[in-house]
Amino acid sequence: MNGDDVLIQARNLVKDYPMGDEVYHALRGVDLTVKRGEFLAIMGPSGSGKSTLLHLLGCLDTPTSGEYLLAGTPVHTLTADALAELRNREIGFIFQMFFLLPRSSALENVELPLIYAKVPPAERHQMALEALQFLKLETHAHHKPNQLSGGQRQQIAIARALVNKPSLIMADEPTGNLDSATSDKIMAQLSELNAMGNTLILVTHEPDVAAYAPRQVRIRDGKIVSDERVKKP
């Protein structure tokens, strides 16, 4: 295996949160290597630091100490604007709460990353429509989020995450607000994305959901306690 295949290389990541006079250690030294095309589930109890880790890996935040290389880029040294550009080009996010802009249509929500990537309107519409088509939601392109079901909203968010063809898709409890049937549908679509070559990191505490991922990382009190590759059934 050559070095180009390594997408994520995190060494001794530490994240401290000041809590009054004291310091809360959310991450206490995480080492993680992820190759391109992997599908990884991060599991662990509530408050163990899953989201914190995902935010660091997703360039939404910077570590208190430690090193993080994303496709060779030393993320821990970057400025806020450089992080924004990296998120825009390389990363797609999917959140538990969907986080769609309420006043914008589904299509406009999917277009959002492309606006900041300076893609001209005509191409932007085309790319967003293609992303919606992938999720079979093109018929709902002009609906506002409040005219869509929870599952549909999360699908819009998935379309938004993949529209800029990122290296990495991050999902923080993407099915946390959905019933199990919808949950399965979403996970099937995410697996399909991974099968198409997208690298996927998923945070969940539901074993059923984690079961979709061939690699499962367990985290407790800000430390990785296990990292196992499971044979797919």
């Binding site: 924004a84 825009n88 080009r89 006043r103 001209p120």
Partner: protein
Amino acid sequence: MTAAALDKKSIYGFWGTLMELFRIALRAIWASKMRSFLTVLGIIIGVLAVVAVVSIMQGVFQSFLGRFEALGGDTLFIEPNYRLYKDYSEAVKRLKLTYSDAQAVAQDVPQVKEICAILNRQDAISFHGHHDTTQVWGTGDSFASMNSFTPEYGRFLAPMDVAARRKVCVLGHEVLDKLALSDDCVGQEIQIGHGTFQIVGVLQKKGGSVFGNQDDAVFIPLSTAILQYGQEAADSLLIQVQIRDPKLMDAAIERISAVLRRQHGLKFGQQDDFRTVTQDEILKQIKEFSSISTLVVGAIVGITLIVGGIGIMNIMLVSVTERTREIGIRMAVGAKRAHILYQFLIESVTLSTLGGVLGLVLGWGVAHLTVAILHHTVAESFPPAYVPVWVMFLSLGFAAFTGAVFGVYPAVKASRLDPIEALRYE
């Protein structure tokens, strides 16, 4: 992405992004119309007030300017030098400018083309039970030609009227209405003060002139006026002089001064007890006054806009807080700080500029409405409002500037948010 797409992307670049941010701003403003309106109410009222006041004022100034410009550069006035005395009534008693002064100027100043002495009084007029007041001008035949007054019916005053001290009068057009006279009133008699005068002519409608509203005026022979209003009136006349060529103005003034000093027996070193006023001086004074009052209004508006700006800042701060989640989402998908900063800055500038436009339109409307009302009630000759182009640009510029200045702090605050904290915000 293909090479062609990349090429397009670089062309789209900066302006495309700016347009995009503008679109986002318009949408946010439109999404909460009522709040946006209330937010910029301060700006709207500020701009409305300035546009209304300035355009009414400018209308008045323009009409004044027009009147004096119509005189031409060859006209000058001589009046008693009232500034010699602190007290105006004392000045009227002490100073003299008489008909014989006018005659002396006419004879001894070679540059003079035409001259007329003028006596002005406000007096009661009546006709068959209709009573009113108007301006009475005692003058002569040259007055009409010097000020281009043309009779609509009958004639203006003639040299014989003055020589014979005839009790005749020429009416301004509005006087017909005031006394309910018909168009064919020439030959009839009206009361002016305690005298009875025969109407010999009615002037065409003219509106304002140097002598105020000449439609609301009656003209009688100067000699008759002196009889009627007495010695004091006869001693403080106004003399209007037209010289042969505007280039001779300085020479004429010098000569007039010498003649009048001789007439009044002034000794060397004594101050002139008369004053010459040229069109140029009057125009300069009007313009000076106009710019001073505009400055005063401008200062008031500045204060209003600061108040309006604080309103904008207040609401923008609330808006940033309310839209923390939105800011977080935008940052998560790749918005840089500058994107967020400009998004909110453009929003506040757009908001305040829209307020400015609304204020401009309303101010224009209020100005014209006010003038229309004044027209129908107080003064028929009230000049129309005049909205100078610079007022539009200035008020819009000020509104935009206010939005920019007071929008900076909320926008900076928005752009400094941490993406994660913004997303977590409930």
